[in-house]
């Protein structure tokens, strides 16, 4: 059989070998492999969610459907177990506070670094990038040691955890906002200033509204990152009241727990997902559509 380029599309392949080797056919092996990967990636989590509705105590044998671990079990369900509720509220509290503190700091940093010319700005840029490249273990250890030995008035606990979360979140905000900042460019501000606005007014009335989708997206990203954070929370925890949901999962997973752990994890997952969906919806509304969807533009944000 000749393999002239372009010959395959119109002539149907006849033998199985030719079907497999057809260079212009659809890549069936790659497709299968990719879908298998997606299944491998997502299905374990779906099974864990499924078992949160298990009627029995097992996390590996299905015993029927029930909301027991969410509401009805009198001691162990999420609704009735104070340890689980405390962990959830600690996680959410930290995430909300981090979101509210890190985003303004990050937006200011992004705008300042983008417009500031000079040596110090390059150093500032480098400083901003460092938390992104540092392994969390190193950052966690550093913060732990500094709280214990230097900033001793901040005791280990919720405040320390908050400071830690904000520290690593700022850089994410900067990256997200900066992408939008460069896409927007300086022209609108310059036009505003030509029309008589002061630089401050141009910033407030022109730039910040245009940055709104990125600011909102970074609020949601910081929320989701903070809710799932484990290492920093764990290193800076001070006692039972500063336990977050990831810490709870870590300490209970290998012991003989019951599906209430799955239930807590599922609830946190729903919260993260809600935040992300909200971020995407608001991004679309604030950015007014555009050429590509929010998902695709997020996929290109990193590096």
């Amino acid at each position: 059989m000749s393999r002239r380029p372009g010959a395959g599309r119109t002539a149907a392949p006849r033998r199985p070998a030719e079907w497999l080797a057809n260079p212009w056919g659809r890549p069936r092996f790659l497709a299968l492999f990719s879908w298998l990967y997606i299944v491998w990636s997502i299905v374990p989590v779906l099974i864990a969610i499924q078992f949160s509705f298990n009627a029995g105590r097992s996390r590996s044998t299905w015993q029927g459907f029930s909301f027991r671990w969410y509401t009805s079990d009198p001691d162990l369900s999420v609704l009735h177990n104070p340890a689980l509720r405390a962990a959830m509220s600690q996680s959410v509290k930290l995430a909300l506070l981090t979101m509210l503190i890190a985003t303004p700091l990050g937006v200011g940093l992004a705008i300042g670094l983008a417009r500031w010319r000079g040596r110090t700005s390059t150093a500032g840029n480098l400083l901003m990038l460092f938390p992104l490249v540092t392994p969390e273990l190193v950052l966690g250890s550093a913060l732990f040691l500094v709280v214990v030995f230097l900033y001793t008035s901040i005791h280990l606990g919720t405040w320390a955890q908050l400071f830690g979360h904000v520290t690593f979140s700022i850089s994410y905000v900067v990256i997200v906002v900066r992408g939008r900042l460069f896409a927007v460019g300086k022209e609108y501000e310059e036009a505003a200033m030509d029309l008589g606005a002061s630089p401050r007014e141009a910033l407030r009335l022109v730039l910040l509204p245009m940055l709104a989708p990125a600011i909102f997206a970074s609020l949601m990203i910081v929320f989701a990152i903070s809710i799932d954070d484990f290492v920093i929370s764990s290193f800076l925890a001070g006692g039972a009241e500063s336990q977050t949901v990831p810490m709870l999962i870590y300490s209970s997973a290998r012991a003989a727990p019951n599906p209430s752990l799955n239930a807590v994890a599922t609830l946190m997952l729903l919260l993260s997902m809600a935040a992300i969906v909200l971020g995407i919806v608001m991004h679309r509304r604030l950015a007014g559509g555009g050429k590509e969807g929010a998902v695709e533009s997020f996929a290109r944000l990193e590096i």
């Binding site: 260079p23 491998w40 200011g108 500094v146 290998r254 993260s272 998902v295 990193e302 590096i303």
Partner: protein, 285 residues
């Protein structure tokens, strides 16, 4: 005016990022209080004492570090081997499903790492689905305890945990390759395999390196994956040792020294990553 905007963020980072790093150095180069046995940091660089490094660099530490390097190398290679075809498929042949595939690809980012590991702890139980499936397929005739000190479990756990962070940058890099280059290669007579080997692969090298570094750095500091997937001290990684040392007040010097050692070991990766991100940011400007 602009410096004033950047100032709060920069001050925060200096106080809560740079100073803590100095604290690590000070504690590592510090001493032990003779009465309580607790670590005492030495803030004055002139009086730094490096004996903690000698204490912590014993054969166990080096053995654990060697094991860590092996785990990370294997997990990283596996991640690349699995992740590259997936990224390639989605970027080149995604078609109508592209957005949905991307959503499914990005989903693990928003699912807590620990929840994903919890899912596997459930599946790998003696009566979990993995054992049941393997026995059903008659690969095993007795349930195997996957969670009791199996290196395979830890390595696969690392792969599962970190591979999404590799695939996304790789996808972004592959997506950026100009389609016209591929068409030109085809026009010049290359079949798809040759086009891939001589055009796509070299152009994606930057993305592969970047994606690999993104996952290698956290993998070196991972301590929760071996803790969750293996109860045995025979699978510990350097991160476990650091966490162990830092739990006790007397171990802070050695813990800090080990942190510095680990940072030095991965500093090449960190500097490479830093340069790439800085360069990408400058190009976008």
């Amino acid at each position: 005016m602009w410096p004033a905007f950047a100032a709060p963020g920069l001050i925060w980072l200096v106080l809560l990022f740079l100073v803590p790093f100095y604290a690590i150095l000070s504690v590592a180069m510090g001493t032990l209080d003779p009465i309580f046995g607790a670590a005492v940091p030495e803030w004055n660089p002139l009086k730094w004492d490096a004996s903690s490094f000698a204490e912590v660099m014993n054969s166990t530490t080096l053995q654990v570090f060697g094991r860590t390097c092996a785990y990370v190398a294997i997990a990283g290679t596996l991640s690349l081997l699995i992740g590259y075809p997936v990224a390639y498929f989605i970027s080149r042949h995604g078609g109508r499903f592209r957005t949905m595939l991307l959503v499914l690809l990005i989903a693990p980012f928003w699912i807590s790492y620990l929840m994903r590991m919890l899912a596997w702890v459930n599946l790998l139980q003696d009566d979990g689905y993995v054992n049941r499936a393997l026995m059903f397929l008659q690969i095993l005739d007795r349930p195997k305890s996957w969670l009791a000190g199996e290196s395979l479990t830890v390595v696969l756990g690392l792969v599962y945990g970190y591979i999404p962070f590799l695939i996304l940058p790789l996808y972004a890099a592959l997506d950026r390759i100009d389609r016209r280059l591929l068409e030109a290669a085809r026009d010049l007579g290359a079949n798809p395999l040759k086009t891939f080997l001589r055009v796509t692969l070299p152009l994606s090298r930057q993305g592969m390196l970047a994606g690999s570094v993104i996952i290698l750095l956290p993998m070196f500091g991972d301590y929760y994956t071996p803790d969750l997937l293996s109860g045995s001290p025979g699978n510990t990684m350097t991160g476990n040792q650091i966490a162990f040392y830092l739990q006790a007040p007397s171990g802070a010097n050695r813990g800090a020294a080990l942190v510095i050692f680990l940072s030095a070991a991965v500093s090449v990766l960190m500097i490479y990553y830093l340069i790439t991100v800085a360069r990408a940011a400058r190009e976008a400007r």
